[in-house]
């Protein structure tokens, strides 16, 4: 896996260029290595995925690498990826490989014209969603770049060219050939589409109970088209009542249960802003409904509303008919503003992070550059908000209602993150998958809009790295609590990579309703299927399998002193920026040593029991504790 670690010199920086998705790069998950498992091997440098077809090939292209300078080689474009491989000049040197799923591409532009002067001035520049830009130079003859450009446009932005996303072709091709394998995967519990079962998850939380019920009122997505089919709501609220409450909430996103502490019954519910407006409208049903939520928790006679926005923004929203709950109208309710900024601010902040990290960094100004992106301050805000929710729910046993404007961006960040901090289940691989399916996908975070799958509107104001920011926050927590998570950094990076890649159906569409309409469950594969079938590489060796239930509640430190830039993600294309992880290597060694000894002891004990009678076995079991 890591060839350099065997060498005598302890290189802190990887010598091999990792500005590609080649399989040797630990921090990248899209490599062909794992694609090879169910891919079709041809006489090509990479393993084709099922349904992947060549679109174009050019053998005389120069990749203008920001680190190594221009490299000459061959470019292949399929309906899934762009693949460049340099022609090795010396035998020793490994070829430079650039392997980019087309879904990652945000924008393709021609640079220079047929008459441009200067070397490598004629070609194509590609701007990616994963923090890198690629530049290819072509021969200035015969419009050599035209087909490349056209094929890239057509395959990277299929929705703008009336095509379909690769996920469909991929799954369709996989069906006939590997139906057996698929069946095996399903029976082994790997089927990603079966990971999240709303009713089972509610049962896990203890719903239904005396105070809460599960309802399929929205089964046809008639009441709220961006909400899931299954809701958990206070028992006291009738179906008709719910319909009325929905009318007072922006886009009918009424308060619905996200999480409940099975012990104290303190809950986290989520919704969108109330339609208060400038005149300060009131709605008796909505007020009663919130009191139901409060009463469902016997531990507290208060209800806390966490409005994720800065208070100024919340007030400004009144002009657009929205707003926030006034403490006068709602009895025993207190409202807090968490000061998290909107999607546009976050997009701008991440753009600055890219400027600071790619292609090169300025070491002497590094800290100021990162400071001025404000990205870490935004992360701090999200973390601090989640910690405040945790304090309310766990320490004060008070139920919390979380909303922002529409309740699908910042709200999802806060509910998902606070649930992760409160409930160790969500820190397992399985649980984290459930968390994303539930809080992000089923409650209608608009992945299609925020990521812009397959469309060429790169400057669309609806795009924003909200989900990425959540994954970053999770990484921050996992960085502060190294052994609280079953999964590792690679797992998170894999999720981010496939957030863009369009190879799996998981992050397609905006809402559950759309996903059902598109029949993604049957027409695409789930990312979780892919991950769960090769789980080992995503596991954190520090996760203590032998301690019962890790720390139940995590309280990360929300300070810029404790939050750091995720270099493993944002700086991964820059060779030598990813710090090696010798420590984990050693942990794995120790764990495997322990396992060996377990087996050995097991054998010896079996022999002993076989040799002697049962008496000895009971003595062994009664051994004293120490």
């Amino acid at each position: 896996m890591d060839a350099t670690s065997n060498q005598p010199d302890k290189m802190a920086s990887k010598t091999a260029s990792s500005n590609s998705l080649d399989s040797s790069s630990k921090s990248s998950s899209l490599g062909s290595k794992h694609g090879a498992e169910n891919g079709v091997l041809r006489d090509t440098p990479f393993a084709y995925l099922e349904g992947e077809e060549d679109q174009d090939q050019k053998n005389d292209v120069t990749y203008v690498c920001p680190y190594r300078g221009p490299v000459f080689g061959a470019l292949t474009i399929t309906n899934y990826r762009l693949y460049f491989r340099s022609l090795p000049l010396r035998d020793q040197e490994p070829p430079l490989v650039v392997d980019v799923p087309l879904g990652v591409i945000a924008r393709v532009e021609k640079i220079g014209g047929a008459t441009s002067r200067g070397e490598n001035s004629y070609g194509i520049e590609i701007f990616c969603k994963d923090m890198r830009n690629l530049r290819f130079a072509h021969k200035q003859q015969n419009h050599s770049r035209r087909t490349v450009f056209e094929k890239l446009q057509a395959n990277a932005f299929p929705l703008s060219y009336s095509g379909k996303l690769f996920a469909f072709a991929h799954a369709a091709a996989a069906q006939p050939t590997t139906s057996n394998a698929n069946a095996a995967a399903v029976s082994a519990g790997c089927d990603g589409w079966a990971v999240y079962e709303p009713l089972a998850e509610l049962r896990r939380l203890g719903v239904p109970n005396d105070m809460w019920r599960a309802t399929k009122l929205n089964e046809s997505y008639g009441i709220c088209d961006s909400y899931p089919a299954v809701w958990a709501v206070p028992k006291a609220a009738s179906d008709d009542f719910l319909r009325r409450v929905a009318q007072f909430r922006s886009r009918c996103r009424l308060p619905v249960l996200s999480w409940m502490n099975p012990r104290t019954q303190a809950t986290i519910t989520r919704c969108s802003q109330p339609l208060v407006g400038v005149s300060g409208k009131r709605n008796a049903d909505d007020e009663t409904y919130l009191s139901y939520i409060m009463e469902a928790n016997a531990q507290s006679d208060k209800l806390t509303i966490m409005d994720a926005r800065p208070s100024a923004n919340a007030i400004a929203n009144k002009a657009k008919g929205g707003g926030y709950e006034s403490e006068d109208a709602y009895k025993n309710v207190e409202i807090n503003f968490l000061d998290i900024h909107n999607i546009h601010v976050m997009r701008e902040s991440l753009r600055k992070v890219k400027e600071a990290c790619y292609p090169t960094t300025d070491d002497s100004k590094w800290q100021t550059a990162i400071d001025s992106t404000l990205w870490l301050k935004h992360i701090r805000c999200v973390l601090a908000g989640a910690v405040r929710i945790v304090d309310k729910v766990e320490t004060m046993s008070t139920s919390v209602v979380v909303h922002c404007s529409d309740g699908w961006d910042r709200t999802a960040q806060l509910t998902a993150l606070s649930m992760l901090l409160l409930d160790p289940y969500y820190r397992t691989v399985r649980g984290f998958e459930v968390l994303i399916e539930k809080e992000w996908l089923s409650f209608g975070h608009k992945f299609q809009q925020r990521i812009g799958h397959g469309d060429n509107k790169h400057s669309d104001a609806d795009r924003s790295p909200v989900f990425l920011q959540f994954i970053d926050s999770v990484w921050q927590v996992s960085h502060q609590f190294s052994n609280a998570f079953e999964f590792n950094e690679h797992f998170l990076i894999t999720i981010v990579d496939h957030l863009y890649s369009c190879r799996f159906g998981t992050f397609l569409c905006n809402t559950e309703a759309e996903r059902v309409a598109e029949d993604l469950k049957h027409k695409t594969t789930s990312l979780w299927t892919h991950i769960n079938s090769s789980l080992d590489q995503y596991l954190n060796p520090l996760f203590p399998s032998f301690t019962h239930g890790a720390e139940p509640v995590l309280r990360p430190i929300a300070s810029v002193r404790a939050v750091r830039l995720w270099k493993g993600l944002y700086c991964r294309w820059n060779p030598g920026l990813c710090a090696p992880q010798h420590g984990c290597q050693r942990t794995r060694e120790l764990l495997s040593k322990q396992d060996q000894l377990f087996k050995h002891v097991n054998e010896l004990r079996l022999k002993l029991t076989n040799r002697s009678n049962n008496m000895q076995t009971t003595t062994r079991l009664a051994s004293p504790m120490h």
């Binding site: 005598p8 302890k10 802190a12 519990g189 990971v195 089972a200 012990r263 806390t304 208070s311 403490e327 207190e334 409202i335 807090n336 503003f337 968490l338 960094t361 002497s364 100004k365 800290q367 100021t368 990162i370 400071d371 870490l376 805000c381 601090a384 910690v387 405040r388 304090d391 320490t395 397992t428 399985r430 502060q480 609590f481 190294s482 609280a484 203590p544 032998f546 301690t547 019962h548 720390e551 139940p552 309280r555 929300a558 300070s559 002193r561 030598g576 920026l577 010798h582 060694e589 120790l590 495997s592 040593k593 000894l597 377990f598 002891v601 004990r605 002993l608 051994s623 504790m625 120490h626």
Partner: protein
């Protein structure tokens, strides 16, 4: 603040202390010597809080005071959410948090000041709280036991309590003067946190302290900030703030070293050689190092054997260490002659050789300003060094131009310390908002980066079989940093604890880094313009560099970051001589003239119990096959020349030559000609850009409870590895003995078996639920429900560890409040005991 005040009638609250000091159960008043302090009789109780004194230690002043901890955790977490938040609602919530008893146990316990007696002795500043439990949450159910166990999880020093710092450690005093009318304790407290009118006290200037002092901020060299407030009495009574401030001004900044407590400490010390640590106090130590490195072209010179240096008139021209290594091709007389041209007589000293080609690492000072016009002497010296290299190749690294000056380092340190010692939550948040920018402005990480870069360059030079000469103005500051880092990068021996201590002994102590001046042990009353131009934490810069290496190569070092942090603290412990002197001559003089007893800091057992010493070791360290620790074997491995290290370690013999018994002029290592025994394949190549570096949180942030990740951080990872090692050791022992009674719990878990006790426990528990095939125990167990925030560390009797409640600054920072049980410590220690065995058992090759 004063929890007892509710019970007291109002009129008493106003002007007496007793209202704040409810007598404890089982009042010890009978034993109180009320007249001892000449204080009003109401204050009698407070004098029970007398600090423990060492032999020879005397109290010079004491006064009742309130101690405030720096910043409460909760305060910031609520203000964290928005630096520029203006709406009232968030403020009110944070307050209501505080009011709700159990809600913020941590915060309320920190917000509260604890009341007690603040004393200044000739050794330390000590605060003894009158109510030991004031700092602990009120909900701690079992009071005394909890208090005792909580201190268990904290590094305990034999000489210092938790609320004590040595006078040596105190760097700056800020006084906060009374404003307007007589302030109440409450107001004083507010001032202690809102440091609007802080005024720095300059002891060197013999400043007169004006006005009444209501609060004191004391900034320590090890990044600790202590805040005290004083209750104001009627004017006829004494001004406690002033009493303490002037005592500190007088005693914490001695003008002469012999005023240090080291000379007053009367405890006998029986010096025993420290196995494995080469003190470089004898000719043999240097000779052994020459042989180990296979350096054959060099010779050891002992000052005591050079007639010229024995002549008092002559000797005063030189500032040479008692032993040093020079090119063999150079006559000693010639060398002495040449050395006169260099600052501090530091003509080329050999420190290390690498590889078979005789490439050496050499330290050199710059020419004296007087002789700088003429490079001839320098060239002659370099030529002599060049001749020692087999291939006659030499590279000169001029550090002065490349690295920060000691003044730069000091400025960076002060800025960094300002970032780590915010006085108020508001200050903390202000800093937090532009933290990285402020951090960059300190330049501290830039200097760390430069040091690592130059050490890497020197190491690469040696690896290329080229002799490397490090040149710096006096050859005793950044030369030490670069030289020792270079050796750490090249030689795995120095990455063991013994090796590292030998390295510090060689590069820093034997070759005379001026610790006394750099650490400010003596307050030099020099000119107004540059009062502390000599003070500079060069050694801390080095320790930080080593910490960075430890981060990048976590399995290459035998020691842990706790060891490094402790080493920094040890610099301010005057009882140990290692970091107290500028030169060996000064040390020898102290021994001879002032009867100073020398105690090497490496005798860690003097300061720490065995359990605390266990945390000096790194559970990830992989000893190579064949390497044996000296601690195990009680003798230095191989290569012993003559009498062995032990005989000459006794530092009483230093400098006088009485015990050195030099039979020859020099020792010629060629008589023992060997190949270098340094492995050539285990060098490190660290990343040294600023973006590869991190802030050493344990050392710099440990006094900020607000940054303590409860149950997270590095200690959890360490604990996990210790458990793994302990499991492996237990399993191996079971296999060896063919007895399977004491298998680790992890074994039973992995086999899906339960032990009897565990079975019982599980019956009490809720049935296990399976959801999505994932086992999940319902949280409705009332036993675990009781703990909110602080969980049980060890499940009752089950032995299954919850790695949960360690401080992320463990073993520093705040101890676990309340219910931290002894069991955790037992497990920690038992696994650590096995660490030494196990890590040597488990070299790389034994693991498939």
């Amino acid at each position: 603040m004063a929890t007892g005040s509710n019970d007291m009638p109002d009129h008493r609250k106003r002007n007496t202390f007793t209202s704040y000091v409810a007598p404890m159960v089982g009042d010890l008043r009978v034993t109180a010597d009320t007249n001892e302090w000449c204080l009003p009789s109401d204050l009698r109780d407070v004098h029970l809080a007398k600090p423990r004194l060492l032999s020879g230690e005397q109290i010079v002043a004491s006064a009742p005071a309130y101690m405030y901890s720096p910043i409460a955790p909760m305060e910031s977490s609520s203000s964290n959410s928005s630096p520029n938040i203006t709406n009232n609602s968030s403020n009110t919530t944070s307050q209501s948090n505080g009011n709700n008893g159990s809600a913020n146990r941590l915060s309320s316990s920190h917000k509260e000041a604890s009341f007690g007696l603040l004393s200044v002795t000739n050794f330390k500043l000590a605060f003894v709280p009158l109510h030991a439990r004031n700092l602990l949450p009120a909900s701690a159910s079992t009071s005394a036991a909890a208090a005792a166990s909580s201190s268990d999880l904290y590094q305990e020093n034999t000489f210092l309590g938790r609320n004590e710092v040595t006078l040596n450690n105190i760097d700056q005093l800020y006084t906060i003067a009374e404003q307007g009318r007589a302030a109440s304790a409450l107001q004083a407290a507010r001032m202690a946190s809102n440091s609007g009118r802080r005024k720095k006290l300059e002891p060197a200037k013999q400043q007169h302290i004006n006005g009444r002092i209501v609060a004191l901020h004391i900034i320590c060299k090890n990044f600790r900030l202590l805040k005290f407030a004083f209750q104001q009495q009627d004017s006829k009574l004494s001004d406690y703030g002033k009493l303490i401030a002037s005592a500190l001004a007088r005693f914490a900044f001695p003008m002469r070293h012999d005023l240090s407590f080291a000379y007053a400490y009367r405890e006998p010390y029986y010096a025993t050689p420290i196995p494995g640590v080469s003190m470089y106090a004898s000719k043999n130590d240097w000779a052994r190092e020459l042989i180990r490195c296979g350096a054959t072209e060099w010779q050891v010179v002992s000052a005591s054997a050079v007639p010229q240096l024995q002549n008092r008139l002559q000797a005063c021209k030189y500032t040479l260490p008692p032993h040093f290594v020079i090119p063999k091709g150079c006559e000693v007389e010639r060398f002495l002659q040449l050395s006169l041209a260099f600052c501090d007589s530091r003509a080329a000293f050999w420190v290390y050789s690498y590889g078979s080609g005789g490439a050496s690492l050499v330290r050199l000072a710059e020419l004296q300003p007087a002789s700088q016009q003429d490079n001839k002497l320098e060239n002659i010296m370099l030529e002599l060094v060049r001749k020692c290299d087999e291939r006659r190749q030499l590279k000169l690294l001029q550090l002065t131009d490349q690295l920060p000056s000691i003044q730069d380092v000091q400025r960076a340190y002060q800025k960094l310390r300002r970032l780590c010692t915010p006085e108020t939550p508001e200050k903390f948040m202000l800093q937090d908002d532009k933290y990285l920018g402020l951090l960059e402005k300190t330049n501290w990480l830039l200097y760390v980066s430069l040091c690592l870069r130059h050490a890497s360059e020197a190491a690469a030079t040696l690896r290329a079989s080229i002799t490397c000469v490090l040149q710096e103005s006096n050859g005793r500051d950044l030369c030490c940093v670069i030289s020792s880092l270079t050796q750490l990068l090249l030689d795995p021996h120095f990455r063991s604890i013994d090796g590292f201590q030998s390295l510090v002994q060689k590069e820093w102590i034997a070759l005379e880094h001026p610790f006394q001046r750099r650490l400010g042990h003596v307050c030099v009353a020099s000119g107004e313009q540059a009062p502390d131009s000599e003070q500079s934490p060069v050694f801390l810069l080095f320790l930080d560099c080593v910490w960075q290496l430890l981060q990048q190569f976590p399995d290459e070092f035998e020691f842990s970051q706790t060891y490094l942090t402790t080493l920094w603290d040890a610099c301010f412990m005057p009882i140990f001589d290692s970091f107290q002197f500028d030169s060996q001559a000064q040390r020898a003089a102290a021994v001879n003239e002032a009867r100073l007893v020398l105690r090497p800091v490496w005798d860690w057992g003097e300061q720490f119990s065995d359990k605390d010493k266990l945390f000096f070791s790194n559970p990830l360290y992989q000893r190579q096959r064949g390497e044996i620790t000296a601690a195990q074997q009680h003798h230095r491995r191989s290569l012993a020349v003559g009498g062995g290290a032990g005989g000459h370690n006794n530092s009483r013999l230093l400098g006088t030559g009485a015990g050195a018994s030099p039979s020859r002029y020099t020792i010629n290592p060629q008589l023992f000609a060997t190949q270098s025994s340094v492995p050539q394949d285990r060098y490190l190549q660290p990343a040294h850009r600023i973006l590869d570096l991190a802030v050493w949180e344990q050392c710099y942030y440990r006094w900020l409870p607000v940054l303590d990740i409860r149950g997270g951080g590095q200690p959890q990872v360490d604990l996990f590895h210790r458990l793994l090692l302990s499991n492996i050791a237990k399993l191996q022992r079971s296999i060896e003995l063919q007895s399977f009674d004491e298998l680790p719990d992890a074994y039973y878990d992995s086999q899906g078996e339960t032990r009897q006790q565990q079975q019982q426990r599980q019956e009490e528990d809720q049935p296990v639920e399976y959801v999505d095939g994932v086992e999940r125990r319902r949280k409705s167990n009332p036993a675990t429900a009781a703990a909110n925030g602080l969980q049980q560390v060890v499940n009752g009797g089950g032995g299954a560890l919850q790695l949960s409640t360690l401080s992320s600054f463990f073993p520093f920072g705040n101890p676990i409040a309340g219910d931290a049980p002894h069991e955790l410590y037992d497990i920690l220690s038992s696994s650590s005991e096995l660490l030494l065995d196990t890590s040597s058992m488990l070299d790389k090759s034994s693991i498939v």
